[in-house]
């Protein structure tokens, strides 16, 4: 007999499994939050573009003949409405809101970001970006998870790192600390709510460090966090109109969490579908429009609430595309790519390094001029005040005076 979701939640034993959450979890809310207040108040929002976004058609080198030569039909013509950023580079015509933010001095554009010996497989390259590893290293934790490990080891709660999604990315998994994934606070709370919870009394935390304790502790933290996030997120409801897309909704949720005063320091949101082997212009144009519209509303939301100066947004993709277009008006998997930084706390704005060098390619692919781990190191040390070297496992030159 099929049951509706609501009935299921009302009567299910699943719900009752949470009644096994011991009482000590109630103490967590009081412990966790003040510890976070010791932070410098800065937060990071990561926007992941999944599938390999073509940087060359996002930040278009419209004065470069080599670009049009490599992309006779796919290259974006100047007269089609390129949004000029400087003499040589312009945003894709669909990125009007991002151009507006750029003009306000809220955007930094990094060109040709990558890593040595790039891997062109989606999952492997995403693994490398999310773990912050070298291309021949296999690391089972994420760079933001290790940040939580290093800077939040005393924090009792997993919501220091929040991913707006149903499942948690590798990027947010540390050795000891993991972020928390939730599509929205209501749905998450609903799953963890049940009428049996109150029945549980007198349970003690195990404290033996066993696997069973670990499971109970995770469960307790999850239930406690769901409660806290749900209650707190009611404080602020966004009045800004977001694009009616999945990505727009997720950014709205993120803004509501931030503006409600959630003390999380890291937020993670994804936009997918950038694997443009065929008919790229149509597909990427739509996605870049979604990106631009979503981020436009998000930044406006944070600006209004006065949170933008403490927020840094990092936009990345696992790789860029091949310079030359393919036979299907698309592009194949490439290497180095653009990274965007947005926020009120950016000290350097605009185009931050040289435009991609289309003359000096590595077998048809862009050579990277900036290691992505340098960007991570800068964010970790200069923005979040963390030990970048310990988190990344080696030293990467930071971009001085950026944030």
């Amino acid at each position: 007999m099929p049951t509706s979701r609501r009935d299921f939640l009302k009567t299910s034993v699943l719900a009752s499994s949470l009644l096994f959450v011991p009482k000590f979890l109630h103490a967590l809310d009081q412990q966790g939050v003040p510890q976070l207040r010791n932070s410098n108040g800065k937060r990071l929002v990561v926007v992941q573009l999944g599938g390999g976004n073509d940087g060359l058609n996002m930040v278009v080198p419209f004065r470069n003949d080599l670009y049009y030569k490599a992309r006779p039909t796919l290259g974006i013509k100047e007269q089609s409405g390129i949004l000029t950023l400087d003499q040589d580079l312009g945003f894709n015509p669909h990125m009007t809101q991002l151009k507006g933010l750029y003009d306000q001095g809220l955007v930094g554009v990094l060109n040709s970001v990558g890593y040595p010996n790039p891997d062109r497989s989606h999952f492997r390259s995403m693994d490398i970006w999310q773990s912050g590893s070298a291309s021949d290293q296999y690391v089972t934790t994420g760079w933001l998870g290790r940040y939580l490990d290093s800077s939040c080891s005393a924090c009792q709660v997993p919501y220091n790192g929040l991913e707006v999604d149903d499942t948690l990315s590798l990027a947010m998994k540390g050795e000891l600390r993991k972020g928390l994934a939730l599509k929205n606070p209501e749905k998450f709370h609903q799953v963890t709510q049940n009428r049996f919870l109150r029945q549980v009394s007198g349970e003690k935390a195990g404290g033996s460090g066993s696997e069973l304790d670990y499971l109970y502790k995770t469960l307790a933290e999850t239930a406690s966090s769901a409660d806290y996030l749900y209650q707190t997120s009611k404080v602020y409801k966004s009045a800004i109109t977001y694009p009616n897309t999945e990505f727009g909704k997720n950014l709205k949720t993120t803004a509501e969490l931030i503006n409600s005063g959630i003390e999380s320091r890291v937020f993670y949101v994804s936009l997918t579908g950038f694997d443009t082997h065929v008919r790229q212009q149509e597909q990427q144009g739509k996605l870049l429009g979604d990106l631009s519209g979503g981020l436009g509303a998000f930044v406006e939301d944070l600006q209004k609430s006065g949170q933008l100066n403490d927020t840094l947004i990092l936009v990345f993709s696992e790789f860029g595309r091949r310079v030359t277009q393919n036979a299907s008006n698309g592009t194949d998997h490439g290497t180095a790519n653009n990274v965007l930084l947005l926020g009120g706390g950016l000290r350097q704005k605009g185009i931050l390094n040289d435009a991609p060098d289309l003359l000096n390619l590595d077998q048809g692919d862009l050579k990277y001029q900036l290691d992505f781990r340098s960007v991570y190191a800068t964010i970790l040390r200069d923005w979040l005040g963390a030990d970048d070297q310990a988190i990344l496992g080696s030293e990467f030159a930071r971009l001085s005076g950026l944030v």
Binding site: M1, P2, T3, S4, R5, F8, S12, V13, L14, S16, S17, L18, L19, F20, G50, G51, G52, R120, S121, H122, F123, R124, D127, D136, Y138, T140, P158, D166, T167, L168, S169, L170, K173, K178, G179, A181, T192, F196, Q199, G202, E203, E211, L212, L215, Y216, T218, L219, T222, S225, S270, T272, G273, F274, D275, H277, V278, A327, S328, D332, Q363
Partner: protein
């Protein structure tokens, strides 16, 4: 520890959990192990899906190794496919992997060759490989299955010559003029001897020895002599005009290799925390036996410490062990197998899709807020046909990263049937009041918390007579305790 608990421990570790009838028979663990070994003696290949024409096109290997070629890319001529053909091709590849995946899961739950399937699963994570070619992936899987309990030296050599592995680790691109070190590096770091027992120069020399190891359009290993560097090499202190076989032989001559493999096996079968006092004698015996895997696992499962309390009910089940275990213990069958793939992805472990060549990290890394909640909801879904809603990430579907949001979203009740009658028989002689406790002893490897037992008793009292057993089972499976084995 009772005989029943020991038996259950053995069935969980050497296979995918006990069935009620296994426990009802109540043999002593030594006898049960002998039976497990006997049942695992025969090798039965996993059947493959029917490969269609469009897919065959995708299977054509790269004729001239090209460093720019995406190792995961489907067809060499993909630029010539229309968007519709590409979609169809991706669909067929995905379907083929789904069939292989659920076919194997089914086998884990039902095959009498529990130990062989468990070992195959272990090596599947050890020789982790992820390719887009279903036929190549299946061939590797069956090679592993065939040699899973034989000599490790045979297994290593066979795996090293598998087209899937050669492609995954770029040995197709390893040529005399331009060596690619990927395979040589991983074979030492991850497959045999482990870091710290070789130098960077050994990697370079080994890479030269593996030049020319390749495969043909029929998916057969070929040695391309013209691409092979036949010159002298110095590897791990030895000098000679080594080829790939020589390198593997020299690696196996190092006792560290036996230790490395034994440690990994111990962590998988016994405890996440390796105990050198247990491992050293095993590793030495493994080395002396010429890397006899059957001998090693038999020693491990008969060691007195195997049944120590510290090793029972203390290991977090991997998602596959959790799923296969529920299917096996309760005889769960799904009308449509697709949700089994969704569960694997949501829980973080999909057969044939390891995260990278290092395999799954395991242990506590299986558990985060989302996966734990999902694990606790799963029994409701499988036993009460409850609806579950989850949107998978794109990177979990990298076979086709353009899958739409709705294709990635799963929201429906699962139509599943469980065979609870054997459980009822197991409990037949137990008075009703003691049934929750008896059932918990069968279903849980970690002792149930008293307050949880009380709750299960309350649930049982509230349930109708005919729904009682199902209610108790569902409650017990929804406990954190059930996540352990």
């Amino acid at each position: 520890m009772t005989n029943q608990q020991q038996l259950q421990h053995l069935y969980w570790r050497a296979g995918f959990g006990p069935r009620p009838q296994d426990i009802a028979a109540n043999p002593n663990p030594r006898k049960a192990l002998r039976q497990l070994l006997r049942d695992a003696a025969e090798y039965q290949p996993l059947a493959g899906p029917r490969i269609q024409a469009a897919e065959m096109q995708a299977m054509t290997p790269v004729p001239t190794p090209d460093l720019r070629q995406d190792p995961q890319a489907p067809a060499l001529k993909k630029g010539e496919l229309t968007s519709e053909q590409r979609k169809e091709q991706n669909r067929q590849i995905r379907e083929a992997f789904y069939t292989m995946n659920t076919g194997w899961l089914e086998r884990m739950a039902t095959s009498p060759a529990q130990l062989r399937e468990k070992m195959t699963f272990f090596w599947h994570g050890h020789f982790a490989c992820r390719v887009r070619r279903p036929a190549a992936a299946l061939q590797l899987n069956n090679t592993i299955r065939q040699l899973a309990l034989g000599k490790f030296s045979d297994l290593l050599l066979a795996v090293s010559k598998e087209p899937a592995m050669l492609q995954f680790l770029n040995n197709q691109q390893n040529r005399k003029q331009r060596p690619n070190e990927n395979f040589a590096r991983e074979v030492m770091e991850l497959f045999t001897i482990g870091r710290g027992h070789y130098a960077e120069q050994d990697v370079k020399e080994a890479a030269r020895a593996f030049t020319g190891w390749s495969y043909d359009a029929q998916g057969q290993f070929v040695f391309r002599e013209r691409q092979h560097d036949a010159g002298p090499k110095i590897f791990l202190g030895r000098t000679g005009n080594f080829g790939g076989e020589d390198i593997l032989r020299i690696i196996l001559e190092q006792p560290h290799t036996a230790e490395f493999i034994t440690t990994k096996l111990y962590r998988f079968f016994v405890n996440d925390a390796p105990n050198p006092a247990h491992i050293q004698p095993l590793a030495q015996a493994f080395f002396r036996s010429g890397y006899d895997i059957s001998d090693l696992v038999e020693r491990l499962f008969t060691a007195d410490w195997f049944y120590d309390a510290a090793n029972v009910g203390t290991r977090i089940k991997s998602p596959i062990e959790l799923l296969a275990g529920i299917k096996r213990t309760l005889g769960v069958e799904l009308e449509d197998k697709k949700p089994l793939i969704v569960f694997q992805k949501a829980l973080g472990q999909t057969l044939f899709e390891p995260p990278n060549v290092a395999g799954w990290a395991g242990g506590r890394s299986w558990i985060d807020s989302s996966t734990l909640l999902f694990r606790l909801q799963l029994p409701q879904v499988l036993l009460r046909n409850a609806e579950i809603s989850i949107a998978l990430k794109e990177d979990e579907n990298d076979l086709d990263p353009q899958q739409t949001k709705s294709d990635r979203t799963f929201r429906q009740p699962v139509k599943a049937k469980a065979k609870l009658a054997p459980l009822g028989l197991l409990l037949a002689k137990t008075p009703e009041a003691q049934q929750p406790a008896a059932l918990s002893q069968f279903l849980l490897q970690a002792p149930i918390r008293p307050e949880n037992l009380q709750l299960v008793q309350q649930m049982a009292q509230k349930a109708s007579a005919e729904g009682r057993l199902r209610t108790m089972v569902t409650s017990l499976l929804s406990l954190p305790e059930y996540q352990l084995m």
